[in-house]
């Protein structure tokens, strides 16, 4: 029988996906329901916001933003 699973589809780059999987495995797999392919994962609907925040802080840690030149 066909199954329907409720959740949020997250589409992103392969590199970002790797980070998402990393965050998930460090936190007892409480975010990701299913790893779909290179660029898609299914995430628990209630956890999306938290996951996004964790990703943001991880990105901030790992990437240094180039100074933006805002000349008029």
């Amino acid at each position: 029988m066909v199954k329907a699973v409720k959740g949020t589809l997250v589409k992103c780059d392969a590199s970002i996906k790797a980070m998402l999987v990393d965050i998930d495995s460090k936190r007892n797999n409480e975010f990701i329901i299913e790893d779909l392919d290179e660029e898609h994962v299914l995430v628990k609907e209630t956890k999306v916001k938290e996951l996004k925040q964790l990703l943001q802080s991880m990105l901030k840690e790992r990437l240094k933003e180039p100074e933006s030149s805002d000349s008029e």
Binding site: K3, A4, V5, K11, I33, E34, H40, E45, K52, D70
Partner: protein
């Protein structure tokens, strides 16, 4: 079907059958649903079946369509079934055929022929009004009321002082409604706009009216009103004539209460709280028309968005964007300036012009507040100055790309809520269902090798599966 009514359609589709049946008792409602909620192909199907004495067999219906149009056919039929306008029946000989619901059929026939003694299209006032108001007055009234609501949402966020002035004018009921719809939120006594609120403000007027009314509908039961009565009243408003006064004596208590709320939005006008007549404004009469869809060509949708002083020029758009990200907006309307300042760094203001620049900072700030790059681009696009409209695309491609890139930097993932369909027995079963989902337009993503796909709505899919199981 215009884009603005699509959210109304979405809302309608989710109503149960009993509600639909009750709604279609009113000819005005049946006509309004037919006129503005259905795709054109679905209209043709309904028209064909309207005077058919017998059910329409599935085989005969299929003969009407080219094999290549299967997708469109399925979509139309799905909408019609979801709205409970047609029903698929199976007789003793296993012959399957479609039939119009009798209630809908009767009402639509009545609406088209003008028969029956229903008064669902409103009753014009008998006695001529001594101080009859003009169409121009009604337009001005509706525009002011509506702009106040928008300005209240935007103005208080960008920190314009006059935001609080608007608060006094729009009334507590409307503010409560905006909060219930999660268009605004209040923290520490300060009102700020939400993501949904932005989507709301950047829409065209017609779509805004529907968004607000849908929130109103959802909360109608809490206010002790019947959902169906509220809906049929709205559909009736859509069929009224601008500049005509209508009597309130034929309205039910619920509808009288609504009249009061609607006049707070500027959808109807009443000279006083207990006047015996009311005037629908342009916001009301365009509720169920396609007029809004014609955006720039049609003055109706734009007439309300323009500011009063620069009305004529703003009808055709007022924003110039240069390839160096500079923006010049020919406007003096505080609302438009406030909207612009959500995502631009405004530097100078002249009596009829504001200028500024799109910067990475200003765009990422907007994205953080919940505006998407797509919304910004479509806002700039739909308000592009006639000079800009001479070139295609209207906006410089570099600017559009850069806005998207800036957003992408802040927002690295794209999310959509819905259902993952998996564990299909056979390839054929998977393909059948995935293609069906695609033709309905609910398919978000599919992976053929793993036989899984993702949809954002599941109701019609499960209906389809149930029907298939019965066969």
């Amino acid at each position: 079907m215009s884009a603005s009514s699509s959210q109304a359609l979405e809302y309608l589709e989710l109503l149960p059958r009993q509600t639909h049946t009750k709604l279609y008792e009113q000819p005005a409602t049946a006509l309004a649903v037919y006129r503005c909620m259905l795709p054109h192909l679905a209209k043709s199907i309904v028209m064909a079946m309207l005077y058919m004495p017998h059910p329409f067999s599935v085989g005969a219906l299929n003969d009407w369509f080219r094999p290549s149009a299967k997708k469109d056919k399925e979509k139309s039929l799905a909408v019609l079934e979801q709205l409970h306008i047609i029903v698929l029946k199976q007789d003793a000989n296993n012959q399957r055929s479609y039939e119009l619901y009798p209630g809908f059929q009767r009402s639509l026939r009545q609406a088209l022929q003008g028969s029956g003694t229903h008064r669902s299209f409103g009753v014009p006032a008998n006695t001529p009004d001594q101080d009859k108001v003009s169409v121009a007055f009604l337009d001005e009234y509706a525009r002011r009321k509506w702009e106040n609501i928008l300005f209240y949402m935007v103005g208080s966020t960008v920190g314009l002082q006059t935001g609080s002035r608007a608060e006094n004018e729009i009334g507590n009921g409307t503010i409560t409604l905006l909060k219930m719809g999660e268009f605004i939120q209040q923290a520490h006594g300060r009102v700020s706009i939400t993501r949904a609120g932005f989507t709301f403000v950047l829409q065209e007027t017609n779509a805004q009216v529907w968004s607000l009314l849908i929130v109103y509908l959802k909360h109608a039961p809490d206010l002790g009103m019947q959902e169906t009565e509220v809906l049929s009243f709205l559909f009736m408003l859509g069929s009224l004539e601008l500049g005509q006064d209508y009597t309130t004596s034929t309205l039910s208590p619920t509808q009288l209460q609504m009249l009061e709320d609607l006049s707070a939005f500027g959808i109807v006008y009443r000279s006083s709280k207990n006047a015996s007549t009311f005037y629908p404004t342009r916001l009301a009469v365009t509720l169920t028309s396609d007029a809004g869809a014609l955006a720039s060509a049609e003055p109706i949708s734009n007439a309300l968005t323009g500011s009063s002083s620069t009305r004529n020029s703003s009808q055709q758009g007022f924003i110039i964007v240069e390839t160096n990200y500079r923006i010049y907006a020919y406007t003096s309307s505080l609302l438009q300036i406030a909207v612009l300042s959500l995502f631009t760094k405004l530097t100078t203001r002249f009596p009829n012009l504001v200028s500024g620049k799109l910067t990475k900072e200003s765009i990422t700030r907007a994205v953080k507040l919940g505006i998407s790059s797509q919304q910004i681009i479509s806002y700039l696009n739909s308000n592009a100055h006639p000079q800009m409209q001479k070139q295609r695309p209207f906006l410089p491609p570099t600017v559009m790309d850069q806005i998207r890139l800036w957003e992408y930097e802040g927002e690295r993932v794209e999310t959509s809520i819905g259902y993952l369909m998996k564990e299909f027995h056979s390839d054929a079963e998977y393909r059948d269902l995935a293609n069906y989902a695609e033709s309905l337009g609910v398919l978000v993503w599919r992976n053929d090798s793993r036989k899984v796909f993702f949809v954002d709505r599941v109701e019609q899919i499960s209906l389809y599966l149930k029907k298939k199981a019965q066969r």
